[in-house]
Symmetry: C2
Subunit: 492 residues, 2 copies
């Protein structure tokens, strides 16, 4: 399959919008840093994963075969009851001990539930850090062999200064090693590190540390930065196309990933780095400590003092799409309610579209209306190809909504456009709404069935009143009230 559209991606590494060229024609390898599963997934993560879901969806829509890898960070830092001492912990029956993987399972399940609710497509591969301990140990061995890491007291540190003498450290985040050094406090002699900028790629497990594996340096666990290097390389190759994550991961996490990959494999790991931006609530950075953050399920249920009402998962999804992935998203009840209205406009237009028929259009493909439609459809693509500009794509989609409404209320006549242009409208609008934006139409079939039965009842009741058959019309009203079905009386 040949991809005909030119896609531009703003590459954090260069700071420029670059024309995207995949390493292997027609295929894309994409890695996104996933959640740490030691607590409920927070809204910032949900926004990041939803952004990359839309990016993934659009890449597939363009015709690319995408291998999308999003990891689960499950190496935790849970410790046992220190008071009991090492021996007592060892003597405890296994079932009496806290098992980190039980915690991991609980929050992984929650994370998957939220992703499903948000209609995010599962990644092609969802590898876990604990599932790649052997590979991580091999990387540590190789980096030591390359002379860019050293072992002290059972831990292994990456030698940032030595690395920097050969390769620039700080390229991605635009930091200079001198500035970093001058902003770092002197080591107080308590640390095993040669230099405060060095970071652990393998850590010795203290006695109370529960998660531990044997290694050439004794029992320990891998440093956090290492897992993403190891898993992305394993499943996507030493250099792959796109690496994404929240902007808070740019430094040091992604900077360390680059250093590790260059040290171990001798190549830069990623061609295009992409970062999503932060969330604010009423203009203030959202955080647990500021008390202005809520969990996804609190948002969906409207169960938080900052929220005036529940907001459905699709409303939240649409709300995210109304900002560019690299912009801050400011939560507020006003903005969420606006998204709710916008989404309703989209889904209503979609439903109207289902009852229209291409063959009924008998006009010309050169008409003003036809050209307007062709232009807005093209804009959907143009905006997405411009670094996935979802808010401007949504604007083009709103124009298509207006067109659909105008067809419905006959302001646009069937002689105003041709069948081909209508087909284009239908395919583009449905494709972008469902496949690219990933909106799940939540019109409930039963609800509709019910609505129809109620509509018939209302109509019959009107006719009965017209016939002055009040006995029966009142009976209908009473029965409906009894069944809890709302009756809205017209005037008269």
């Amino acid at each position: 399959m040949t991809i005909t559209r030119e896609l531009k991606i703003k590459n954090t590494l260069s700071g420029e919008k670059e024309i995207f060229k995949p390493i292997t024609e027609g295929k894309i390898g994409m890695y996104v840093c996933g959640p740490t599963v030691y607590s409920y997934v927070h809204m910032g993560n949900v926004r990041t994963f939803t952004s990359f879901d839309v990016i993934y969806r659009y890449l597939c829509y363009l015709g690319y075969k995408v291998r999308y890898v999003r990891n689960i960070t499950d190496v935790g830092h849970l410790v046992g009851d220190v008071d009991e001492g090492e021996d007592k912990i060892a003597q405890k029956a296994r079932l009496e001990q806290l098992e980190p993987m039980e915690v991991v399972q609980k929050y992984t399940n929650d994370f998957h539930d939220v992703m499903l609710t948000m209609n995010n497509i599962p990644p092609s591969i969802e590898p876990t850090a604990t599932g790649h301990i052997l590979e991580q140990i091999e990387w540590v061995q190789q980096i030591i062999k390359e002379g860019l890491a050293y072992e002290v007291n059972g831990s292994v540190y990456f030698d940032v200064l030595k690395y920097n003498s050969e390769h620039p450290y700080g390229e991605l985040s635009g930091r200079k090693i001198e500035d970093l050094l001058s902003n770092t406090r002197e080591l107080d002699g308590q640390s095993d590190k040669r230099n405060p900028l060095d970071f652990a790629i393998w850590k010795k497990a203290e006695p109370q540390h529960i998660m531990r594996w044997n290694s050439p340096w004794g029992e320990g666990f891998p440093g956090w930065h290492l897992e993403c290097s190891v898993m992305s390389t394993k499943y996507l190759g030493e250099t792959f196309d796109i690496h994404g994550g929240g902007m808070d991961l740019k430094f040091p996490h992604h900077e360390c990933e680059i250093a590790q990959a260059v040290a171990c494999c001798g190549t830069k790991p990623v061609n295009y780095w992409m970062h999503t931006n932060m969330l604010t609530m009423n203009g203030v950075k959202m955080s647990k400590s500021a008390g202005n953050s809520f969990l996804p399920n609190e948002l969906f249920a409207g169960d938080h003092e900052l929220l005036e009402q529940p907001y459905s998962p699709m409303t939240v999804r649409f709300f995210f799409l109304m900002s560019h992935y690299s912009s801050q998203v400011d939560f507020s009840n006003e903005a969420l309610q606006a998204a709710e209205k916008g989404l309703k406009k989209m889904t209503t237009a979609y439903e109207l579209l289902q009852n229209m028929n291409a063959e009924s259009f008998t006009g010309s493909g050169d008409s003003e209306t036809a050209k307007r439609i062709q232009n807005s459809c093209e804009m959907c693509h143009v905006k997405m190809c411009d670094d996935f500009n979802t808010p401007e794509m949504v604007a083009a989609m709103f124009d298509l909504c207006s067109v659909i409404n105008s067809i419905e209320n006959k302001q646009i006549k069937i002689t105003d456009l041709d069948a081909g242009t209508f087909e284009l409208l239908n395919n583009t609008f449905s494709g972008f709404l469902l496949d690219v934006m990933g909106i799940k139409i939540e019109s409930d079939a039963n609800d509709e069935g019910n609505e129809e039965a109620v509509n018939i009842l209302m109509e019959v009741r009107g006719l009965l009143r017209a016939e002055k058959n009040y006995a029966l019309s009142d009976l209908i009203r009473d029965k409906m009230a009894e069944a809890g079905i709302e009756v809205k009386d017209g005037k008269g």
Copy 2:
């Protein structure tokens, strides 16, 4: 929490029903062999996992704190394109190669979907074989050190004859080593094994084998039997309470698990072994090759030539419960339809129960009716405590259904029992139906709303016909037909 009821479990190891005694008071460690995720989960697996879900649910209902581990077997045997030769495979870009973990992800997602649909509770921990390669290598090393395994050409084999000279091999499946040996063909010199009964605990990866890890014996992958020993021990301890699986796993898989654990840890790994039985279709063993098997989703959709209609996930669940876990289950349309009716009886009784009020009962707790209820409630527990006898528990539940129906139609009067006995009925029936049997009540609120509106329409239509207002009654019929609502005309 003290568990007051005595539970008996038929232990495959002894062939006897034994009184269950947990290793740690109030806690249970349970391991069940999970699916291999290289194809869609088959009905036999669904039956096994649903059986153990009910067992898990009842253990929790009794008050035990259960750590339930069910693994995912994701070490597959996918090979690359052999024609291309080792070098060409190595040269291929990573993204051009088949990636086993992509296959694994697809079928793991499918498996989780089916488990959710069947209302099976996710296990406490769901470890993967690929996630425990390091631990498996350590077991192989230890077994070699104990002198019970040997390396040949990069593979490591468990020495069954030597093991058998110290410990009985075949205990679980009741096989004798002499019989096993006489039923085995002589090795033809092509094999690295010393004896045909020996089994691989580590296998050398041939060039075309895609999944491979470094080990002290070169690149390879763990033998299948090893993963369950390693993961159950890691999360439940060297000896744990319950190990379950399908009866086809008894030999050699579980037999090998015992041998590995005894060889590596010096202890028998499991106190109670439990095995589920096979599925048949119209009396014939269900299998892909016999052409008489269907996938879960085919069963739910009625999409198979052997199926007369769709059967809902809860119907299938109830159908499984109507057999003991250790009995064969014979699928047939008759049996599934009987289960559908039985389930309907249960859920209808449950809904009736919701509208009854304990305080309205003014009789005595010594009445015949009260005693009947007390007895049937007790029977629910007695039967489940007798090796999880679900069909007899269901029989007691059907008696409670009859009681509820009799209360509803006033055959049992409010003076026939006391509030306390009604509470017992309510708690037991609801608890067993929802929490132990795991039935999800699928009464759709919208459906009910619709039904009511339709009922009112039908009533009004009858009245209109009585008034000889055929114009309006026919209009209702036509409108309903138009809306796709079924109209059933009475006589006349």
